[in-house]
Amino acid sequence: MAIFEYAPAPESRAVVDLQPAYGLFINGEFTDGSGPTFKTVNPATEEPLAEIATATSDDVDRAVQAARKAFGVWSALPGAERAKYLFRIARIIQERARELAVLESLDNGKPIRESRDVDLPLVAAHFFYYAGWADKLEYAGFGRRTTNGHSGTKPLGVAGQVIPWNFPLLMLAWKIAPALACGNTVVLKPAETTPLSALWFADICRQADLPPGVVNIVTGAGETGAAVVAHPDVNKVAFTGSTEVGRIIARTVAGTDKKLTLELGGKAANIVFEDAALDQAVEGIVNGIFFNQGHVCCAGSRLLVQESIHDELLAALKRRMATLRVGDPLDKNTDVGAINSAAQLAKIRELSELGEAEGAERWSAPCELPERGFWFAPTVFTGVAQSHAIARDEIFGPVLSVLTFRTPAEAVEKANNTPYGLSAGIWTEKGSRILWMADRLRAGVVWANTFNKFDPASPFGGYKESGYGREGGLLGLEAYLDV
């Protein structure tokens, strides 16, 4: 037995008051959905958490109408008034951060350390950031008034937003904060497996006295999302999720005058040079792929390591992976939580088995996985070639593929040799090489000597099949203004 075992340190569930069933949030009221209800489960235990309503296309229509009606009031408010609401929402989120963090970990399976220290602070920061822009849109650089009557400060109207399950509340913040700051109203559909924090957010909107209809939350599966996207009175569609669904949405929106932003998949290269700060590079690799169980679109799922340090780095990485604490998401000492759903677990297993079948060598951290719930041990594949499926397909789980390179040029070539282009990481102590690489990498975000760092002031988005449009920062305003 180890000398220093950490006793369980569970965060209390009691701060979350779960009701047996939840409806839709339309025009400032919780109402029933017309479709059949479904259960949302705790992926760490498979215990059902609540019954959730399904919004049909009629329900979505009601929500869009409410948003349309509210648009008149909301867009007419001076920016400074809209800012007050957003600041209020940001402060309420901070006040209720503990409750929201526990809720997020319950519904999503992510460790409380991450929901507490990463998700919630970023959610609040995002609302604070865009609250600050609401009365300064004229100075955002999109122009004041153009000859054709358009103004760079004019909102688009009703935004239909569909978000994924990996960062439920953070993705909601990325969508709703800029939309509201610019004067739009929204109909948002959270993911089927993680609807709870969006419904809590609906409650926060009421607590903040946000005018009815400015924010509407419709829950349900893919069909509900399709109804939001296809609704003729939606002016703007924003989607974060898989490239597969992104394609369908792009097809739906094609030929309409809806404005569209897509933030899709990724297969990011985390590139480690022989002169890197080794211990910190190992931390960056771990953070890059095992943060949030690898359910991160910008995860550093491909490790490109210079051949000269391959063995040394892999030994250090495996030693570090053996210390990862996998288990109860509510335990404050957990590093890696539960896989979000049975379907996602099946997909991770399938791709990992394919990796072995194609000849890559699999190594998993020695850790005991709980019997119930959806779990996958942190795993690394070595001897991976560019042609392997695990080097090309997005696994969206705690699975790292290791490839090698010899020269900076080869590193760039391999990093870019993917249909995706969301993010990349560079690890070297040589500043000039960082700049040289960053110039050549076809990725929306390039991190140098760090990974998975987010800030509301920094734009985020992809090249190629990772999507288009930028969220966050000044550029994030553009998606919600008539420019």
């Binding site: 950490y6 006793a7 211990d279 910190q280 000597n449 760090t450």
Partner: protein, 309 residues
């Protein structure tokens, strides 16, 4: 030691090439890692284990101009029986002229006597004086010598001078264990901390120690982290294990436990003993005792229930 490492101190040039060839330390990353480990929640049984472990690792220290034989004797009494059934501390740490007093007070107790030497804390004197200082402390019965490195020589790039001084002091130690104080607050960068750690280990240090306690910042979590990585890597390379002693600025149980978490998740079980990890401190012991009593009784006792020695 592997042959490649045996030759690194052959000349100033080879030593410099070796130390500058060590992987760099990224400050932002190291700070972040230490901060993340600092959020570990150590409760109930884990806390009880950690507190007793920390007490047993304390080098109870007094290094004041006003130290007297009476003061040292009182501290030694506390070191052997901290109170409330707590385990004895690892060692007491005093100036060389008080070693004989401590040795007398601790005879047969199993608590070791450590003495600072080599013109502590600045180290600004000749090698002859440093060696004599060490030899006299050892002759007076010190089990452990805490020497300071010549930071001036290190910062000016004269690594060989630092190396040779450590080798000379180590020779003067005889059977006594040598702890080499890097004074990381003066070295300033983590790259320097890693280089100085390796330099000291190559020269024969049994322990590497962060600070004298006379310079701020003293023992910070990231510095201890970098030093733990160094001893871990050094053992991988040479097979020889070297201990780590953060000292200075560790005042609360929380601080002490954070250091133990670093040891646990960086160097591992092999370092989680007083033989290989120490906490240089004075006021820390009372906070550990207070938290220990709180765990046992469920209540905090006022500071007057813990002796000031």
């Amino acid at each position: 030691m592997t042959t490649s490492l045996a030759d690194v101190a052959a000349s100033g040039a080879t030593l410099r090439a070796f130390l500058h060839g060590l992987p760099g330390v990224d400050r932002v990353g190291a700070d972040q890692r230490a901060a993340t480990l600092g959020t570990r929640s150590i409760k109930t049984s884990a806390k009880a284990t950690a507190i007793d472990l920390a007490i047993s690792m304390v080098d109870l220290t007094t290094l004041e101009g006003a130290d007297t034989a009476g003061k040292v004797r009182a501290m030694c009494t506390k070191a052997v029986r901290p109170g409330g059934g707590a385990p004895k501390v690892a060692a007491v740490c005093v100036y060389p002229d008080l070693v004989a007093v401590a040795v007398e007070a601790l005879r047969g107790s199993g608590v070791r006597v450590a003495s600072v030497a080599t013109a502590f804390p600045s180290g600004r004197t000749s090698l002859e004086v440093k060696v004599t200082d060490t030899a006299l402390a050892v002759a007076a019965g010190a089990d452990e010598i805490d020497m300071v490195i010549d930071r001036g020589a290190f910062l000016s790039g004269d690594y060989l001078k630092v190396y040779e001084e450590i080798v000379a002091v180590k020779a003067a130690c005889g059977q006594a264990h040598l702890k080499v104080i890097l004074e990381t607050g003066e070295l300033s960068t983590y790259d320097n901390v890693r280089r100085a750690s390796w330099l000291a280990m190559l020269a024969g240090a049994d322990f590497i120690k962060t600070s004298t306690g006379k310079v701020s910042p003293a023992a910070t979590l990231p510095v201890t982290l970098v030093m733990l990585e160094a001893v871990r890597d050094f053992r991988d390379a040479t097979g020889r294990q070297v201990g780590v002693k953060p000292a200075g600025g560790i005042r609360t149980t929380k601080d002490a436990i954070k250091h133990l978490v670093l040891v646990n998740e960086t160097a591992g079980d092999d370092w989680l003993t007083p033989e290989w990890f120490r906490l240089g401190a004075s006021s820390l012991l009372n906070d550990l005792l207070m938290q220990r009593q709180k765990l046992t009784t469920g209540r905090y006792a006022g500071p007057d229930y813990f002796t000031l020695d």
